[in-house]
């Protein structure tokens, strides 16, 4: 056991003390925060740079529909002038509407010296469509049309209230739960992929370096493998912990700086940027539902799933790394694993739509997908027994896979030359 500890220590220290690890760990939260705040800031910056659009509307009824917004200012013009075609003009685009568009649909066009932005076309199309719809409705001569139309324009958002076991009611918001679940799911996916890959890389390096022969004249192959898996896993957990703390701090500070009140929690930030900026009451609702998420339980299950998922895949990666001789050969074995992981990620995304559907339930039981899918389901309150069964299966498979991988690893690391087939690898398991 002592030997395993020495190996864990080396694997851990060796990676943690690397410059690339330190830099990446420190920079990543900033990159992450930047990903959230740069679009926010850009959208603020954009309003300073509104573009002028000339509208030559001979009918006079479409222009009023074109509302100025943060990107575009619309100005009426009497007629097409030659100066619009030169680059001295103040207008970046010219819209000309020569006739009623119900009778003559080809009568409108946008001209510009530059490529016309999608956003502009969309605004103009919407404005014109709205007017056309309006005109058509009027042509039916319905009495009190204006009142009917105003009535139509109501939007409604239903309150969602969750009953808890003790009978109390609380505001819930599946959006927040799904967002939290997806973030955790994605984190597990990312870490399993990158740290599992790291295990494979490291096993392969020892094999191709030929140091492995020296190593296993001192320690049992299994100790070497498990030491590596644990050591690298701890690096992942450390990185995750650092990121968690840094992200919380950065978001709080940035939130205060930008004066957005509800930013003390990263989860809010996510949902706030992914959805359109919520109305104040809606923000309160989101805050309320975040408070209603069972964060300690969610966090605990995240750690359990994270470790279980990592162990399952790291042991597979270790077995692969031990079996192959060159990095090029790894492709063949990696591809199915990567497919499996991507499938798990997609299953998680679809599970968010229907957390109790057969796809979600089955994928949260199969150990290769469960660690990734479970987080979405857990955040949506999957039944406790299912969560428990899922974890039991996950850990049982993790330990079985580690044991099997140890058998393959032990034989594989001393096999040089030809690339083994899957059949041979399975045969290694039964070697004495």
């Amino acid at each position: 056991m002592n030997k395993t500890f020495i190996i864990i220590q080396r694997e851990f220290m060796n990676r943690v003390s690397k410059k690339s690890f330190i830099i990446l760990t420190v920079l990543m939260p900033f990159i992450f925060a930047a990903l959230i705040f740069v679009p926010l800031m850009l959208s603020m910056v954009k309003s300073d740079e509104q573009k002028n659009i000339a509208v030559i509307d001979h009918t006079g009824k479409y222009f009023p529909m074109m509302a100025n917004d943060e990107s575009y200012l619309f100005f009426p013009e009497e007629e097409m002038k030659d100066e619009f075609r030169t680059d001295t003009t103040v207008y970046s685009a010219v819209i000309e509407i020569t006739d009623d568009l119900i009778e003559n649909p080809d009568a409108a066009a946008i001209y510009s010296r530059k490529e016309i932005p999608q956003g502009l076309s969309r605004i103009v199309n919407n404005a014109i469509n709205e007017q056309i719809r309006h005109d058509k409705l009027i042509s039916y001569n319905i009495p009190q049309l204006q009142r009917i139309m105003n009535d139509f324009d109501q939007t409604y958002s239903i309150r969602t209230i969750k009953w808890s076991d003790d009978g109390s009611e609380s505001e819930s918001n599946a959006g927040v739960a799904v967002a939290a679940g997806m973030i955790l799911t994605f984190l597990i996916y990312m870490f399993v992929m990158s740290y599992g890959g790291m295990v494979m890389q490291s096993v392969m390096e020892e094999k191709t370096n030929r140091i492995v022969e020296l190593m296993i004249s001192s320690v049992r192959p299994f100790q070497l493998m498990i030491g590596k898996i644990i050591g690298i896993g701890l690096v992942g957990i450390l990185q995750l912990a650092i990121w968690g703390v840094m992200l919380a701090v950065i978001l709080t500070v940035a939130g205060l700086m930008f004066g957005v009140s509800a930013m003390s929690n990263p989860d809010i930030m996510m949902s706030a940027t992914s959805a359109p900026m919520p109305e104040p009451t809606e923000a309160n609702a989101i805050l309320a539902s975040i408070n209603n998420l069972n964060l300690p339980a969610l966090g605990g299950l995240f750690v359990l799933n994270f470790i279980g998922g990592y162990l399952v895949y790291a042991s597979i990666f270790a077995a692969i790394g031990a079996s192959i001789n060159e990095a090029e050969d790894s492709q063949q074995f990696m591809t199915p694993i990567v497919f499996l992981l991507i499938f798990a990620l997609y299953a998680a995304i679809y599970s968010a739509e229907n957390a109790d559907g057969p796809l979600a339930v089955w994928c949260s039981m199969i150990p290769f997908t469960s660690s990734i899918v479970s987080m979405v389901r857990v955040s949506l309150d999957a039944p406790l027994w299912q969560t428990t069964v899922s974890l039991v299966i996950l850990y049982a498979s993790a330990f079985t896979l580690i044991w099997l991988a140890g058998k393959i690893y032990r034989v594989g690391i001393l096999m040089y030359g030809k690339k083994p087939s899957l059949k041979e690898m399975i045969k290694w398991i039964s070697y004495k």
Partner: protein, 305 residues
């Protein structure tokens, strides 16, 4: 104290398509250098791995220092594999200490011993360098130090001289003999037969998964003796053949007339010498034992048949 530090009895090891060892038995005497010889693919590395407990034999037993080999014995073995390898990106000193710790040394003791060895090999300035920055010869030295650092009772060197220049090979040879004098038992696997004559006390020759020759070096050599002698006579003296011997060759060199003669097998050395000395001034007389190289080639060729 046992006469034999290590005994392997009837080791059989099969791989998927071939038998790597088929009933191999060796006896390695305590405190001696034991040469494990054999052509490529004969099964030497497999045997070494079994002794190191890297792989288990299909059948057969290994006795280590009198008892049946057990897991903890590996702390008493230092192994220098033929395929050298260390962590390229790790610092030399750090790496050596790590590997020593895995062999059961505590960190402080490992550091202390390592400093001594590095001073001895004049590589102290490389302590904080990454291994990949060192020349190949330098890496070999580091690996040698790592092998012996934990002062194991049994040392196994697999082709230790490959990659060393003659000066460093000589240094290494001295170190190996020094280790032997300190009481270490050494297994020495090589193709380099001249070094076998210089270093080894006993040998075992493995070919096609079997031990084909085993014993003390001088005994083995005399088994292969051909009754050939090197005789030096005073310059000007001529040797005339008689029934006791025949002359194979002659040359004049360095003030001597040197003959290579082959005596009839029923004649003793003193009879031969007195008959020659009766008529000639003998300046030197020695038996020509076959070199290990010849023995190796002859045995391997014969066992092929």
């Amino acid at each position: 104290m046992n006469e034999f530090f290590l005994e392997a009895q009837d080791i059989v090891k099969c791989y998927a398509n071939h038998k790597a060892l088929d009933g191999v038995s060796i006896k390695v005497p305590q405190g001696k250098v034991f040469g494990l010889l054999g052509p490529n693919g004969a099964g030497k590395t497999t045997l070494i791995r079994i002794i190191n407990r890297i792989t288990a034999p299909d059948s057969g037993k290994v006795y280590f220092n009198g008892h049946l080999s057990q897991p903890d014995d590996i702390y008493n073995i230092g192994y220098l594999p033929e395929e050298r390898g260390l962590y390229k990106k790790m610092k030399v000193g750090e790496q050596a200490i790590y590997l020593a710790q895995l062999k059961g040394l505590d960190k402080r003791e490992a550091t202390k011993r390592l400093k001594e060895w590095f001073d001895k090999f004049e590589i102290t300035q490389w302590w904080d360098k990454k291994l990949e920055e060192l020349s190949k010869g330098m890496q070999q030295k580091v690996q040698f130090v790592i092998t012996v650092l934990h002062k194991p009772q049994l040392l196994i060197f697999d082709e230790p001289f490959s990659g060393f220049d003659p000066v460093n090979a000589e240094l290494l040879k001295r170190e190996i003999l020094e280790l032997k004098n300190q009481g270490h038992t050494i297994i020495f696997s090589t193709h380099n037969m001249s070094s076998v004559e210089e270093i080894c006390d006993n040998i075992a020759l493995i070919n096609h998964s079997h031990v084909v020759l085993q014993g003390e070096v001088n005994e083995v050599r005399s088994q292969f003796k051909t009754n050939t002698y090197r005789l030096g006579l005073h310059m000007g003296d001529e040797l005339s053949a008689n029934s006791m011997f025949e002359i194979l060759s002659s040359e004049e060199k360095g003030g001597e007339h040197i003959y290579t003669i082959k005596k009839s097998s029923d004649i003793s050395n003193s009879q031969l010498l007195s008959s020659i000395a009766a008529v000639n001034e003998v300046t030197s007389f020695s038996e020509c034992l076959p070199s290990m190289n010849e023995i190796f080639i002859r045995t391997v060729e014969n066992s092929k048949l």
